[in-house]
Symmetry: C2
Subunit: 226 residues, 2 copies
């Protein structure tokens, strides 16, 4: 029996690449997407496309309304997405988002008897979110090893973060090797419902720069010529 893995799949460039890597490594992949009523819900359609492309065993979409997290511009639509790089952690930070997502993946992994969770966190070309850092991931792993019945039975569930130390251009090169068509992914924080990117937000800036550094033509569909 092949090894199984849960892949957290937002529909963006990073998580698509992680799914590609896990597939290439021979895991039987179960994709999990969290519909947290985020502003940029075009990424949910992107997640569907990518899950189909990689022919995942199952694609589970969890609905949890987090629009009550009023401090984040991703969940509070009356706030504005910043279009200029700023000092510190930007308003797009969603409180405890990666912990919520990895915990739901942990619950699913335990239920289906999988011992692997993949997440596309990155601590190089990123927005400074605390829950993308290696020390945070390590602490989640320690917690997970105490939280579950699986762990007590000696079957720890491992968190895999294959992108954590890669630059955006290295991530793109990895994804190209996996055959990913990045035009089908959505990274923009304020993408239109058709998935057109603004080209101005932090996520767009990091992505554009990644294609430039990778010396690969940027296939992203923007609302206006860049």
């Amino acid at each position: 029996m092949s090894r199984t893995a849960i892949i957290l799949l937002s529909g963006g460039l990073d998580s698509a690449t992680v799914l590609g890597i896990a597939s290439r490594e021979g895991y039987e992949c179960y994709a999990m997407t969290i519909n947290y009523h985020q502003r940029h819900n075009a990424e949910l359609k992107a997640a569907n496309r990518i899950a189909k492309f990689f022919n995942v065993k199952e694609h589970k979409i969890i609905d949890i309304d987090l629009s009550w997290l009023k401090s984040s511009s991703l969940t509070n639509q009356s706030m504005t997405i910043p279009e200029i790089a700023s000092e510190g952690i930007p308003s797009t930070y969603v409180p405890a988002r990666n912990t919520i997502m990895m915990t739901l993946a942990l619950a699913w992994a335990e239920t289906i008897g999988s011992q692997n969770i993949f997440i596309g966190v990155n601590a190089v070309d990123y927005s400074g979110y605390p829950d993308c850092r290696p020390e945070y991931i390590a602490s989640f792993q320690t917690m997970a090893n105490l939280a579950t019945k699986s762990a007590i039975e000696g079957k720890n569930i491992q968190i895999h973060t294959p992108l954590i130390h890669l630059s955006k251009s290295e991530i793109i090169h990895e994804g190209e090797k996996c055959g990913i068509d990045y035009s089908s992914t959505v990274s923009c924080y304020q993408a239109t419902s058709d998935g057109l990117a603004c080209g101005k937000c932090d996520s767009c800036r990091l992505r554009k720069e990644g294609f430039k550094q990778a010396n690969i033509e940027d296939p992203t569909q923007y609302v206006a010529p860049q």
Copy 2:
């Protein structure tokens, strides 16, 4: 300004007591209840009654369907609730439940600027769930201190577990001091929609024994005379 706290309030005996303790300690209390489509959803009505009794600042009910956690008899209604004490962790264990709940509380705490979360876990008269043990709570605390923007800014969010080392009878004595009417709480894993308890499941057995040890008349409303 008074200190604020998030109280995870299921509607059972333990969480009601925790809310009583936090109120008595002078916290301005925000109650959070998770509707995870649990079998015993009469506890949600109980949570409403208790939140009203303690006049909480806000009572947030989060809806997240976890019925896909097929390994637990609390979320998979085709399974039977065990009525005989068994070896090991019983089928009522819900994968990662306390981690899911504490993480949602963490997100809310950060959003409203609270630095306190209370949860009624207990490692004395309990069902052996891994996510009730002190070492698990400590590891969640370490993780939380790395996960959030609050923590980076030097404002850690503290997890309070005032019941963790108390026996059920000691918990009941605490609650009595806080004025709790335990007949309005629901602990039974297979309570009727009116909140009548079976008297046979693990949760009922621990609760009944607690009243007996506390030498206090059991006010629980059962489906049949005990």
